[in-house]
Subunit: 203 residues, 2 copies
C-alpha cells in the first residue's frame, strides 16, 4: 500500500532495513508461539524496540506485516535448500537438503510453527501468499526428487511432485515433533525417519 521506501535508484542508495529486520525477528518469535491473532502490534513493536507507528510505517497493516514475514522466512529457507547440496548421488543430495531443512526448523522453530498453522487454512488471510510460497519449496524439492527418479528405479505409480509435497509436509511435522515431543531425538534419527519416505519411493 503505502510503500514509503522508494528511493527510486538515485536519492538513497543504501537502506539498512534494520528496523524491518528487528520486526521480523520479534514477530517471528511471538507469532510463532502464540499465533497471529494472539499477539498485538504493540507487543511486537515493544519486542523489537520500536514504536507501534513504525510498524504501520514499514508495513501497512498487521496482516501485511505477517505476509512479509512469511515471505521472508520462506526466502531464507529456500536459500538454505539451494545452497546445501554438494553431493554426487541424487539420494545423498536430497538427504543433504532435508538435513538443511531440519536444521532450519531447529533454528527457527517459531517460523515452522507459524507455517504449519497457516499453510492449510482455507479460507485464510495469507492463503494466496502461502500457496505461492509452498509452490516454490515444492519446486526445489521436486527437482531433487526427479533426479532421484532418473538415477534409480522408483514407484512409477507415484508422481515426483506428490512425493515432493509429502516430503515437505513430513519434514515439517517430523521436525516439529522432534522439537516439541522428542527433544532427545538426534538430528540423525529425525533425518533417517524423513528419508524413509524416499526409501519407500524407491523400488
Amino acid at each position: 500500500m503505502s510503500e514509503p521506501a522508494r528511493p527510486a535508484q538515485t536519492r538513497r542508495p543504501v537502506r539498512t532495513n534494520a528496523t524491518r529486520q528487528k520486526l521480523f525477528e520479534a514477530s517471528m518469535l511471538l507469532i510463532g508461539e502464540r499465533g497471529p491473532a494472539n499477539v498485538t502490534v504493540d507487543e511486537i513493536a515493544a519486542a523489537a524496540g520500536v514504536s507501534k507507528g513504525t510498524v504501520y510505517y514499514n508495513f501497512g497493516s498487521k496482516s501485511e506485516m505477517i505476509a512479509a514475514l512469511l515471505e521472508h522466512g520462506v526466502e531464507m529457507l529456500e536459500s538454505r535448500l539451494a545452497s546445501a547440496s554438494p553431493a554426487a548421488k541424487a539420494v545423498d543430495d536430497l538427504q543433504e537438503m532435508l538435513g538443511a531443512m531440519l536444521d532450519f526448523f531447529a533454528e527457527y522453530p517459531s517460523f515452522a510453527q507459524l507455517l504449519v498453522s497457516e499453510m492449510w487454512r482455507t479460507p485464510g488471510e495469507w492463503h494466496e501468499t502461502l500457496t505461492l510460497l509452498r509452490e516454490r519449496l515444492v519446486s526445489v524439492i521436486g527437482a531433487a526428487v526427479e533426479r532421484v527418479a532418473q538415477e534409480n528405479q522408483v514407484d512409477t505409480q507415484i508422481t515426483p511432485a506428490s512425493v515432493a509435497g509429502a516430503i515437505l509436509g513430513a519434514t515439517f511435522v517430523i521436525g516439529l515433533d522432534r522439537l516439541v515431543f522428542h527433544p532427545d531425538r538426534s538430528r540423525e534419527q529425525a533425518l533417517a525417519v524423513v528419508m524413509t519416505v524416499i526409501r519407500g519411493y524407491l523400488r
Copy 2:
C-alpha cells in the same frame, strides 16, 4: 468444570447431549477455518442455533469448550482407527487404518486443520490436552506398526514409535494437502503416498 452431563451408563434424567453436539459441529467448522482466536463465542452460539448463555452453561468458558472439542474429535478418530482393521497381513491392516484416517480428515477437514494448528504450539492453551491426545493416536498406530515389524524385516535403526509419529504427521499433512492443494488427487493416490513411509521402513 461444571460437567452437567453424565449420560454414561447410569440411568439418569435422559440427556440427549444434543446441545453439546450442535456446539461441537458449529465450532469445529468455524474454529477450523479461522482459528480459535478469530471466532467469537457469539458466532459459535448463533451457528449452533443456541444462545451464548448456553455455551457457558455447558462449558465453563471458550477455552474449555475448545478443549472438549479437541477431545471429542480425537475420540471419534480413535474409534474409527480401532474399528477399521479387519486385515490378515499387518501391512494391509495398517493401510486400512490409514485409509480410515484419510477418510476422517476428508469428512472433518476443519478438525484436521484445527489439530495441526495447535498440535505443536508451545506454550499453548491446550498443549497438555493435545499431548495426551496425540499419545493416544500414536499408541494406536504404534501397535499396528509393531505388528508390521514382527511380520517383516524392518530397519532396526528406527524405532516403531518414531515411525508411528511420522505416519501420524505425514497422514495429517498429506490429507490436508490433498484437500487444499490437490482436490483432484484420489484417495488411493493419497494413500499410496502415505504408505510410502511404511515401505521405506521395510527392509
